[in-house]
Symmetry: D3
């Protein structure tokens, strides 16, 4: 049995605009499968393009002090606060890969205060979760704490923007019932 991956129609690859199809095929080539977010959001090509342009600007950014694992840790922890099944499972998998740590994704998804992370990472997640759940009260003291852990203002923008962007993604995934690919659940769990 195949479970639906979205409440909305999922386009055939052949029916998609060339740029979108090519992006999807490139991902498939690299990952070995097509993450469902690519297929489900392709229902709206213009939004798809903007979504992934935004995603890539934040997650593939070459500058700043956030590692790729840091970014995925932010996504995993904040998506858990938004109870987004797709993002916790998919980005939890990517976090395991990037961090080469089989345990940390489940840890930060359940309770980042009990995770095996550094004080710097904890401060990063404290802030991300505040942006996620209570951005209205963010202020000077939050900036100050992050600076004390070595983050500069551009890093703070990055943490906030990643959180804000995946807050968008979480809401879309929840509304359309985006289903994570089965592959993600097991990725990065085995010791090497």
């Amino acid at each position: 049995m195949t479970m639906p991956i979205s409440r909305f129609p999922v386009p055939e690859l052949s029916a998609l605009p060339d740029d979108i199809r090519e992006k999807i095929l490139a991902v498939q080539e690299k990952a070995g499968f097509v993450p469902n977010v690519f297929l489900t959001l392709a229902h709206r090509p213009d939004e798809f393009r903007a979504f992934f342009a935004y995603h890539d600007a934040l997650m593939l950014k070459k500058t700043g002090n956030l590692s790729k694992a840091d970014r995925e840790m932010i996504v995993t922890a904040t998506s858990a606060k938004n109870n987004c099944l797709y993002c916790v499972v998919a980005h939890g998998a990517i976090l395991r890969i990037y961090s080469k740590n089989a345990l940390v994704a489940d840890q930060v998804a359940v309770n980042h205060l009990k995770a095996d992370i550094t004080l710097r990472e904890k401060a990063m997640l404290d802030f991300a979760i505040k942006v996620c759940l209570d951005s209205q009260t963010v202020g000077d003291s939050d900036y100050e704490v992050l600076r004390q852990h070595g983050f500069d203002d551009e890093d703070i923008w990055d943490i906030a923007a990643i959180t804000a962007f995946f807050g968008l993604s979480n809401r879309m995934a929840n509304v359309i019932s985006m289903r994570p690919n089965d592959e993600f659940f097991l990725m990065g769990r085995s010791p090497r």
Copy 2:
């Protein structure tokens, strides 16, 4: 005295990439001033481009049953739930213009249940606010209510996506202390 419009550096127009500067000048030409969101987000050109591509895909979309006033009403009501000063003031102004109604923006910002809106609009905002605050519980019954008010599934995607996108915008505005232009406060308030 001029108040800062962002915690982050605001680039000079002359220092911006051509496409961004041209977009900003076009807005200025049309509106008579440059809304601060264009200047403050230009700090990050790649994110700027993705942000406005997403924005335009949702807010300038020509199809579907949501009017321009509907879209702005969603933005105003949900931004109030996120306590985002910039978006409530700026999009409240645009809502007054599009709806030719001087009162409705303040009404939906404070309490949409007491606003002079139709049952269809109320259902639209009920759903948008649920996506904003509690997307994890969105399900079949929410879709059903909206369909009973004449919204089809593509409209439901639009309501959710507008809410999700401005949730991103709200969080960025709160984190960087984006200040609304003084012009917005008075726009569309005078009877004609």
Copy 3:
């Protein structure tokens, strides 16, 4: 079309007890219109008299360090927390008049942490909002913070009492669907 201003019967001026009719006519003389709170609450003359006696004791008080604008700022900010359309709109208007500031009412209604207010005013609103939403935890440290900003104990009583009184007003307005007069929306918005 005239919208109803209350779920309950609104008495004719001529049918009211003399003291109440005279109070209403005096307000009309001064303001140029009768704010709906006078008409809607006149449905219960005894409660009307007590309500306005309490209101005047707090808002027309001549002593202490709270300015008239301070008092209206407290009302506007806390009424927004209670999502009371009448009080945010009506007292926001009065706040604009007393403060000679066209922007501050919308600012404190959406997010007082982003408003153009002094640290003293911010401390005043922090406390008022705590009394509004979580009075059970008010204690020594709250008094201490306010004293550091120059408020004495009588001022603290004033802030609390204004918040508490308008919490009553907010609940009544929400329950009876008290509608703000259209006049309030535009008052005090134009620069002079």
Copy 4:
């Protein structure tokens, strides 16, 4: 040892205006002691007069379908939601007296859904608690439920107004640390 009954100065009876002193002496005559709310609020004579005028208009009202026990039950249940020690203890005592029921006050203070009350009383408290905690969402369906239990619109106003008024009282008591008289704790507890 005598515990302070307020953070603020408590006036001597002899120093009070005549009308206030007489009201207090009358209460003492009837109750056998002076409830502390009279002494603590006498710190502000004008507010005292308005407070008790409002109180009496709501609690001594002769018309309508709410019994005196109903009124005290509303006060006890909603004051518990506001964690107001003075009002839960003092009005719980009066509720025991009026209802001739030694158990009901503690029951509704802890969880009205488990109290020995009628369905009509439960509907009354459900509504009062909604007005207390979430008045912004009160609407048609709330009125409808109450009407089905035999309450008319004037009764609904009464329930709301009592809740709103004691919300004011709860906040003042919490801020000034108003202490309930020891007498209240035992009143009405013994079977007769």
Copy 5:
């Protein structure tokens, strides 16, 4: 009229296993009546035995710095947060007995911040309430505060375990509508 004490069948004493019947008779001998928790939970003998073994391990423990009154104060305050009628009433009664204080149970049930308790007791209840409502954020700083008030780590375990155990009890009592015996309401209220 006798009110039901549980939604579930309440076994006859004669139908119970010997060990349970004997335990119940011993309690009756000592207290003069059988608290309903013994009768209602006897519906499930194995769970009954584990429940009271756990209860006795925590509440009859001879070591450590928590007095019997401390333990009952924790139960009363946290059960109020869980709105558990049985536990607030029954353990409030026992608290009055052990503390020889007729007022403190009602005080901590309504608002421990306004109760006549020591700073040590307040810190104990602050922690217990955090464990009750937000255990996920308990961390080093909570331990530190308690140590400053003279609690050692074993005492901290005791406070947490009592809170956790009665959280179980509160949920069972709420689900089965466990009714407190009338006797509890009056116990320990009279001055001696």
Copy 6:
């Protein structure tokens, strides 16, 4: 490096009372390792005995309509609401084993409304989560919904008791920072 598994001393097996050591050795024999909950709670032998007696009464119960997978699903979903790392990870693993489903544990931990579960299971978890987070409002209508899904009253007791018991466990684990064994993270994830 070995991470601590508790803030409290963890006893050596050899130092434990015989019955506890034997229980632990039996678990080790069966599972291949000793789950940390046995070692960390052995710090308090009497509580250990009561804890596991209660656990076994609920989780090894032979009667009723809840399968072993049902029981573990309740534990996983409610422990996630309490942000208990130990229980989500350990019982999620056991749920994968019992259900022979590699995905369902992560699904119900993040958002049971998006999990691949039956309507009966969803009703069971809806109720368990209500008992976990808001037991004070459980009432007739909750029982009615469960009966419509084929649960009888004894099953309802089971769901509530399992939720209540693991609420105790969650709080203890959060307070003592109980660490899940690394083994749990990977258990039951590979397709067979």
